[in-house]
């Protein structure tokens, strides 16, 4: 019986195949892997979400 880790590995492995050399974007002198680009985009998205999404405090918005 395959372990949970193996099943999860197979599932994600079928979605994102990492078994090959990395893909890179070339923009002038800038060279960056798609992996790093995705992380940077995610950081910007989370940063904007942290600013825009209201924070519900324990006191129900006591200010």
């Amino acid at each position: 019986m395959p372990s949970v880790a193996l099943m999860l590995g197979t599932l994600f492995g079928s979605l994102i195949n990492l078994n090959h050399p990395g893909n890179y974007i070339h923009w002038g002198f800038i060279q960056m892997s798609y992996g790093n680009l995705i992380v940077i985009i995610l950081m910007v998205v989370v940063f904007l979400a942290a600013i825009l999404i209201p924070f519900k405090s324990h006191k129900g918005g006591e200010r």
Binding site: S3, A50, I51, F55, S57, H58, E62
Partner: protein
């Protein structure tokens, strides 16, 4: 023992004298250091139950997220150090702990960068908070070094590739002879002894500085006079539960 005078928010002198022990001991360096520490950071200030109202925003969450991730990084690092490379490369539990170590570092760096952006756009060095800002920047730079030496300590083809690529870069700075990235023993010692000690010490000072100077107040809203509402909130005691 009141520790903090509710009117002034400062420790009561009588309590400080009492904490110093016998009156004849008050001049000793131990009593002086203890008194100064209690005066600067009384327990309520060191571990507060409430935060100023303006802290009720998601952008203030990323500092503590970074520290939470750091705790997991150090915990999993301890386990990896206990069993060694054969374990973390071969056994399924070892691979799992190795992955936890990697992904907690990913979260650590991710949260730290968002924390850095948030504090940069808030100009968090305002109000005598320069030391807080500088210790934050230094901890970021040291963390980059710790992550780098971690990649070199993986004991796989990836670490070989990274070290040989980095060797040229470090050599070009003139530091290649002292900091030899192809020397596994040296890189491992930097990764598991020197840099973690530096990070924990700098982050510790950073957190103490945040407690000492408080969380930076937001910029005043458009049309509001500088030091208006935000300053009033900071000093009026309008707070929310932490």
């Amino acid at each position: 023992m009141t520790i903090v005078d509710p009117k002034t928010g400062r420790p009561d002198q009588a309590d400080l004298d009492k904490a110093a022990g016998r009156p004849e001991d008050a001049d000793q360096w131990t009593a002086k250091i203890r008194n100064r520490a209690v005066e600067a950071l009384p327990p309520q200030k060191l571990l507060p139950d409430r935060q100023p109202a303006y802290v009720a925003s998601w952008i203030y969450v990323f500092g503590v997220t970074t520290i939470a991730a750091l705790i997991v990084v150090i915990g999993t690092g301890f386990v990896l150090a206990l069993f060694g490379p054969n374990w973390w490369h071969v056994s399924s539990t070892g691979l799992f702990v190795n992955s936890l170590h990697l992904w907690s570092v990913e979260i650590f760096m991710f949260a730290m960068v968002i924390h850095l952006w948030g504090k940069f756009f808030m100009a968090a060095w305002r109000g005598r908070r320069k030391a807080t800002w500088i210790t934050g920047i230094v901890s970021f730079l040291v963390s980059v070094g710790a992550a780098f030496t971690g990649y070199l300590s993986q004991q796989n083809f990836d670490s070989q590739w990274i070290s040989t690529q980095a060797k040229d870069g470090i050599n070009s700075t003139g530091a290649g002879a002292i900091f030899n990235v192809t020397n596994f023993g040296q890189m491992l010692m930097w990764h598991i002894v020197l840099l973690p000690l530096c990070i924990v010490a700098i982050v510790g000072i950073h957190v103490l500085m945040v407690r000492l100077r408080g969380v930076v107040t937001p910029f005043p809203a458009k049309g509001e006079t500088p030091g208006g509402e935000a300053a009033a909130v900071a000093t009026s005691g309008a707070e929310v539960q932490a």
